[in-house]
Symmetry: none
Subunit: 221 residues, 2 copies
């Protein structure tokens, strides 16, 4: 996993930025097309994506969307088009920030730093006995590692992030499986079952993950 994945079709600018970022201590990988960017992302992952919108072939928005469908990696969009519509689009697609070219390098660096810090600070959730590390996607219970799968982690996280509120089944399903998923909604209840088995004192009468009949599930009373 690399710190930053830089997607920029201008070779010269790409090289320059790479150097600059490396000089700041980040590990960087770069791509000059959307296709290559996705394949790099797929292979190695990245903690942050710097994404040019104007790309030959697959455009930046498509890349942005594709990345967002997989993970919640922060994305900063770079663009020459200074239109608000683009901005809205970018935000719609889940970009975290937006910088217009020609950009001030210091501002860009500051935003990158900001994102890394924000993410870092946000990256641990404590809830009762449980500690969720959002980066590592690990859970510990009373200090002991509690192995959970990806889906279980996502479920647990979403429930805890909305604790006290009922989270609709549809919401859980759409967010975790994707609204265009072909899977049966039934699979959710099975995952809930696994989760309960792992975290509940008595899985037969769950205290943490409550069933809200006809609606969904709720963390806590």
């Amino acid at each position: 996993m690399v710190d930053i994945l830089l997607v920029e079709d201008n070779t010269e600018l790409c090289g320059l930025l790479c150097e600059l970022l490396r000089a700041e201590g980040y590990t960087v990988s770069s791509a000059e097309t959307g296709e290559k960017a996705l394949s790099l992302y797929e292979k190695y992952g990245a903690r942050l994506v710097l994404l040019d919108i104007n790309l030959p072939g697959m455009d930046g928005f498509t890349v942005c969307k594709a990345i967002r469908e997989k993970e919640n990696t922060p994305i900063i969009i770079l663009t020459a088009r200074a239109e608000r519509e683009d901005k809205l689009n970018g935000i719609l697609l889940g970009a975290d920030d937006y910088i217009e070219k020609p950009y001030d390098i210091d501002i860009l660096l500051a935003k990158i730093k900001g994102i890394f810090q924000r993410r870092l600070a946000r990256d641990i959730i404590t809830e009762g006995d449980l500690v969720l590390d959002l980066n590592a996607e690990t859970v510990t219970k009373n200090g002991e590692a509690l192995p959970v799968s990806m889906k279980e982690f996502a479920l647990l996280r979403m429930l805890i992030e909305n604790k006290g509120q009922t989270v609709a089944k549809e919401q859980l399903f759409n967010r975790i499986w994707g609204s265009d998923s072909e899977s049966e909604p039934q699979t959710l209840t099975v995952h809930i079952k696994w989760l309960r088995e792992k975290i509940e004192a008595d899985p037969r009468s769950p205290q943490l993950i409550q069933t809200v009949w006809g609606k969904g599930y709720r963390w806590g009373g």
Copy 2:
């Protein structure tokens, strides 16, 4: 009941915002005229209204006022007119917040989130021994959890929200079962029965849920 009712006459912007809000996990319904907004609100209700002031036909202020006359649903007003007068008007009419176009999406989202959180803390109705948590859809009686079904909760809530007033059977039925429901109206009385069983000290002579002969029911004397 939907999370957000969006009232915006610009079709494109309306669509974009809808998507954006849905991506944030809110359920959204939208209207492009004031009339349609009110009818949607009437039919399905909403936890928050995002309201454009400049609407063709019935204007935003009228909509705002109409909604406020019914319920205390929070309203955020959106407007291009950057006039102080509007702002004053909006707040006078009970809007909870006010955003000028072109608005920063992040700010809008932050405000929405803020309102939902504030409401969350507020979304509790206390009535005698009973505490209704509208978000969790739970009832506690003297601190102890009192399990109620969806329909029972809806009934209880509607009665308490109109306490002292008689709520017509038709009104209860239409709101909870839906005006196009195929169920027998009789089912309502059965649910009233279950509710009384759960909350009344002596279900034989109900003190909380009074029968108003020929009309409906009333909470309290």
